[in-house]
């Protein structure tokens, strides 16, 4: 039985989740991947925010608190009415954001990150400290996930390119599974360790 979560998400709701729980997520969330994470660190976290980026900073401070970052570079179609539609929108590999993610979670009060492949110790520690989880979406399931995107509300930093922009989207029952929780547990660490033991056995045979 899947847990339904609505944005904004409270810390208590996050801390009640455990590795293996299925989550159906609804509400307004943001995509953000390689360029977006480097941008947030360079402009908002490593040093003082440049004047040119102050407006974007305010938007992200207001909207990421209690919300979710989705590691995704969608295929997008522009509709005749000027709005956008997600055509295909599965997760991208999250590990590339490992150097940035923990700081972004803590700085903005992000409650969940959706991606694929899992992340490592720094992100896991930030999830525990700040009250956040890693939600795994099914890699490659892009048409199916695009259907849970009800509306593309807005887009920021489109000059980063379509895959790298911040897309503000409204999702309904986005299917995910918790693979890193706020209690320090990671399915990815467990599978890596167990498969490592098996590898040694095979190489010894």
């Amino acid at each position: 039985m899947a847990t339904k979560l609505d944005v904004p998400i409270s810390e208590d709701q996050i801390r009640s989740l455990k590795v293996g729980d299925q989550v159906l997520l609804s509400g307004v969330i943001y995509t953000g991947r390689d360029a977006a994470h480097k941008y947030m660190i360079d402009n908002f976290i490593s040093g003082p925010c440049p004047d040119s980026e102050r407006e974007m900073y305010k938007i992200l401070q207001r909207e990421l608190a209690g919300s979710v970052i989705y590691h995704c570079g969608p295929v997008v179609r522009k509709l005749p009415n000027g709005k956008y539609e997600f055509v295909a929108a599965g997760p991208t590999t999250s590990i590339r954001e490992e150097p940035y993610q923990g700081d972004v979670i803590e700085h903005f009060g992000v409650r969940a990150v959706i991606g694929k492949g899992g992340m490592r110790d720094k992100t896991l520690a930030a999830c525990k400290k700040s009250g956040a989880v890693y939600l795994h979406a099914i890699g490659g399931a892009a048409t199916l996930i695009a259907r849970s995107c009800e509306e593309v509300v807005d887009v920021y930093k489109l000059d980063f390119g379509v895959p790298e922009a911040f897309w503000k989207i409204r999702v309904k029952d986005f299917p995910t599974v918790v693979t890193m929780d706020a209690h320090g547990q990671s399915l990815h660490a467990a599978v890596r360790e167990e498969s490592g033991k098996m590898l040694q056995q095979l190489l010894a045979s």
């Binding site: 299925q22 295929v75 055509v87 390119g161 379509v162 399915l187 599978v191 095979l202």
Partner: protein, 291 residues
């Protein structure tokens, strides 16, 4: 020669939105091996549902439509320069029509070209042949799985392995463990043995065109392919790296002549969405060849 741009556009559309039968069948068989109500089983069921939805709605299976890699065989007298222009035009049209994502990004600045083409992008390999028709093969290879590719130099202080089948086995097993679920497992491994650094990787990627149920013409390599397929699945990494029985759908390898000094084992990791199709264009009429 004819202008085959519209045929190539159709090839791109089908490759992006419809998965070949051998891959879909392998995924369907994998479902039954996983425990009921497990995350691994649920992942495979979602993957199969997505494949059907993409086919029916003609939408990309995966939003990462990857690097378009073409192999074009053509008769005598055809201009490769014109074929390249037609291929690039087809990629641009497919991108405008949302069958491909604009994926070509300047390496250093990160600037997206916007139309999915750029320096050596897409990748196009040409071969002239004796036949009177064109054979255009296309593979769409996404970035997540491409990042899981690796090349071993055997032996090295970092990777002590022998220059024989045992050393090759060690490299392939190690690569599968390193990849975990990051390349969208269950994946397919293409392995190039020998060659130079570049040809070895190209040979590895070419193996990903092979039917999952075929046999290697070299009995030794055939045996090793089947053994590695079984052994990698024993690692228990499973679909998406959730833990489970199916980590790879196949291992396909080929060897090349090498220099006495060099022994490369190159591994190309392909995600479960092994999007590749082959089109035959004869007298201006196109048809798909079953892989």
């Amino acid at each position: 020669m004819h202008d085959i741009k519209e045929h190539l556009l159709e090839l791109i559309k089908v490759t992006s939105t419809d998965l070949p039968a051998d891959v879909e069948d392998a995924l369907r068989k994998a479902v039954d091996d996983e425990q009921p109500n497990s995350s691994a089983r649920s992942a495979l069921e979602t993957i199969l549902e997505n494949i059907s939805m993409s086919r029916e709605s003609a939408r990309p299976i995966c939003q990462d439509t990857g690097t378009p890699i073409f192999y074009i065989h053509h008769p005598h007298g055809w201009s490769q320069m014109k074929l390249r222009q037609q291929t690039i035009a087809a990629v641009q049209s497919a991108t405008e029509q949302s069958y491909l994502r604009p994926n070509a990004v300047e390496a250093v600045s990160g600037k997206n070209s916007g139309n999915n083409t750029g320096t050596d992008f897409p990748t196009v390999h040409f071969e002239e042949w004796e036949k009177d028709h064109v054979r255009a093969a296309l593979m769409l290879k996404g970035g997540g799985c491409e990042n899981c590719g690796i090349q071993y130099t055997i032996p090295s202080p970092e990777f002590p392995a022998s220059r024989d089948l045992a050393g090759i086995r060690k490299a392939v097993l190690d690569s599968a463990h390193k990849a975990q679920g990051l390349g969208c497992a269950p994946g397919i491994l293409g392995v190039g043995i020998g060659g130079d650094r570049a040809t070895s990787v190209i040979k590895a990627k070419e193996q990903l065109f092979r039917n999952l149920n075929d046999s290697n013409p070299d009995p030794q390599l055939d045996k090793l392919e089947k053994q590695l397929h079984r052994e990698i699945n024993e690692l228990g990494i499973g679909p998406m790296g959730f833990g489970g029985k199916t980590t790879v759908l196949g291992v396909k390898m080929a060897e090349l002549h090498r220099l006495p000094a060099s022994f490369f084992v190159s591994i190309a990791y392909m995600c479960w969405a092994n999007r590749r199709q082959v089109m035959i264009i004869k007298d201006g009429v196109a048809s798909f060849e079953r892989i």
